[in-house]
């Protein structure tokens, strides 16, 4: 099946669509290619991906995109409605709301990535250890997981923030503490299917210590589903972080965090609705982006639903 129609590009396509793959690398590249193609056929998922790409670009190039510095005050031009100069209007201190929303994307992205990179390893560790060792270890760890799961996420995050004190760093820790339990459940389920396979038995027969088996041979098998799961959770993380900011317990002013901006906008709601409108739409669009992307990802990787 190597009939290269166009040289170069056609060769690659033929390589990716060949009916018989000649190497493991080719096989996994083919799987990736067909996965991407299925993803690309889903318009909603592509919209989600588009939103996330835009978010990433905006966050990276924020200083170039924003027409004003994020904290530049101009009391002579406060609470102006949207106009050509100030696309989303100005806030109570005369700061350009558009610029602040643009810079806010950095904070949102940071929070989400930080939460994910704290929660995923915790969940992965608890889940794999629990699943691999079984017995009492499993019972105790899963009980603890269940207890964390028996609180609604936002309430538990609020309780942790109350104990740790308000602020963006503590908000990240608090949210991470509420996100890991479902991941641990998932990692445990994956571990249970991997545990009894022959290759694990072979490594064990060679005398590898348990921690080595867990870290080097079980964890990598769980990694992909954990990553998918955390992607699906991203929208929830964003909404929780924004809710904490809105309640005055997350990011603190003058930080241009969207939830905190909404909270200030609330005080000027009836006269200047646009103060609250723009950051809210930003939260909505980004969390919609993550939801669409996550849905698409799940459809590609787990076609059971359809």
């Amino acid at each position: 099946m190597t009939t290269a129609i166009e040289p170069g590009k056609g060769g690659l396509r033929a390589y990716l669509t060949a009916e018989v793959s000649n190497s493991p690398t080719q096989a996994s590249l083919q799987r990736l290619y067909f996965g991407c193609r299925r993803f690309a056929e889903n318009p909603l998922a592509m919209i989600g991906l588009g939103i996330l790409v835009v978010l990433l670009l905006v966050a990276i190039f924020a200083p170039l995109i924003a027409p004003f510095p994020m904290n530049e005050q101009n009391l002579g031009r406060r609470l102006l409605p949207p106009s050509g100069a100030h696309w989303f209007g100005t806030d109570e201190l005369g700061r350009d709301i558009f610029s602040r929303v643009v810079y806010g994307s950095r904070i949102t992205l940071q929070i989400t990535l930080l939460v994910a990179s704290i929660a995923a390893p915790i969940g992965l560790l608890v889940g794999t250890v629990s699943g691999y060792f079984g017995g009492w270890t499993d019972t105790v760890l899963m009980r603890i997981t269940d207890i964390f799961l028996s609180f609604p996420g936002l309430i538990l995050a609020l309780a942790f923030v109350a104990a740790l004190g308000p602020g963006i760093r503590n908000a990240v820790i608090a949210i991470a503490l509420t996100v890991w339990p479902p991941i641990a459940r998932l990692a445990r389920a994956e571990t249970l299917t991997v545990r009894s396979s022959d290759y694990i038995a072979a490594i064990r027969a060679q005398g590898a210590p348990a921690w080595r088996i867990v870290v080097k041979h079980v964890m990598p098998m769980c990694l992909s589903s954990v990553i998918i799961r955390i992607t699906l959770n991203m929208a929830g993380i964003i909404l929780t972080a924004a809710a904490l900011g809105f309640l005055g317990l997350g990011a603190q002013p003058p930080m241009p965090e969207w939830g905190a901006m909404l909270s200030t906008g609330r005080q000027y709601l009836l006269g200047s609705w646009f103060l609250a409108a723009a950051p809210g739409i930003a939260i909505l669009v980004v969390s919609l982006g993550f939801n669409l992307f996550g849905d698409g990802l799940r459809d590609v990787l787990d076609p059971r639903d359809e």
């Binding site: 909603l44 009980r143 603890i144 269940d146 207890i147 964390f148 028996s150 609180f151 609604p152 996420g153 936002l154 309430i155 538990l156 609020l158 309780a159 942790f160 923030v161 109350a162 104990a163 740790l164 004190g165 479902p182 699906l232 959770n233 929208a235 929830g236 909404l239 924004a242 809710a243 809105f246 309640l247 005055g248 317990l249 939830g259 909404l262 906008g265 609330r266 709601l269 009836l270 609705w273 609250a276 409108a277 950051p279 809210g280 739409i281 939260i283 909505l284 969390s287 919609l288 939801n291 669409l292 849905d295 639903d305």
Partner: protein, 358 residues
Amino acid sequence: MSVTDVNQPRETISRRPEASKIPPWAWDAWRIVSSVAVTLLGLLALTFFIGRMLPIDPVIAIVGEQADASTYDMVYKQLGLDKPLYVQFLYFMGDMLRGEFGNALFTGNKVSADLMRVFPATIELATIAITIGVFVGIPIGVLAAVYRGSPIDHFARIIGLLGYSVPTFWSGLMGLVLFYAILGWVGGPGRLDVFYIDIVDRVTGLLLVDALIAGEWEVFQNAVSHIVLPASILSFNAIAFISRLTRSFMLAQLSQEYILAARVKGLSKWKVIRKHAFRNIAVQLLTIVALAYAILLEGAVVTETVFAWPGFGRYLVSGLLAGDMNAVLACVLIVGIIFVSINLICDLLYRILDPRTK
């Protein structure tokens, strides 16, 4: 909050010993009781732990910075802080189980009294919201499944996605601007207009019920105009949750052969859906609705803050902002207990109502 968790089967904690003479129901009862006890203990331990993480010195919070050493020591001993940690935990457990949550410093009342006062407002709000959620969510879900791939299905999908993506604090604020400030269709923040407050005697704490008991029609109307918007905003997430799961439950039923058989027998499409498919998902739906109700409590924290609704969520947030751990821990513990109870009730309902689980 995630949808996928709901479909996963619950794991049995331990298997009944085959040879034992214990009857199955007693074993089940023991399993449930022990699992609830362990979870409750865990809830208490977690709240205790959160309380100890506090950077604020609890003694100074009570006696103030200027207190001399002897006063400090006295309060230190009174709070039991000189005892070992597990003794402190036992004290804490005893207090919590007796409903002794201590005093809320920011209201000056007992936390238990405060909670009794604020909870009905939340129950009222959440009940109206879940009613909206059920009567809008289930029909959307059923229609989306029956007309799969049609515009209705796409509409349902969009509703679902938006319900999961819209920050309720934002939609609440925008709702206030549009429906209250601009259009004037609904009442503003709070449960009543100022001049209606305290007309009706408090009987149940549910304002709508109390107004009807007192026969105050005007107060009732005013209360309705105040609750419509927050309840609708709060219900949006429930609509998304319920419609999405109704759709997937319904799809699973519609693809089965008994549906086809009933159609072949000559029953009309909607009769099959109503009498066969829907009846089979009814128990699943019941548990989903119960779960959605529990999730509404979480949403209430934000919604109540936006609408100045004097309920449990606003109480929790005020306690948080005032740094009042007694109030916060009591709220967190109670929400945990409600969550666990609702899950337990769902489990039991499932066993009792669905013959397939036997």
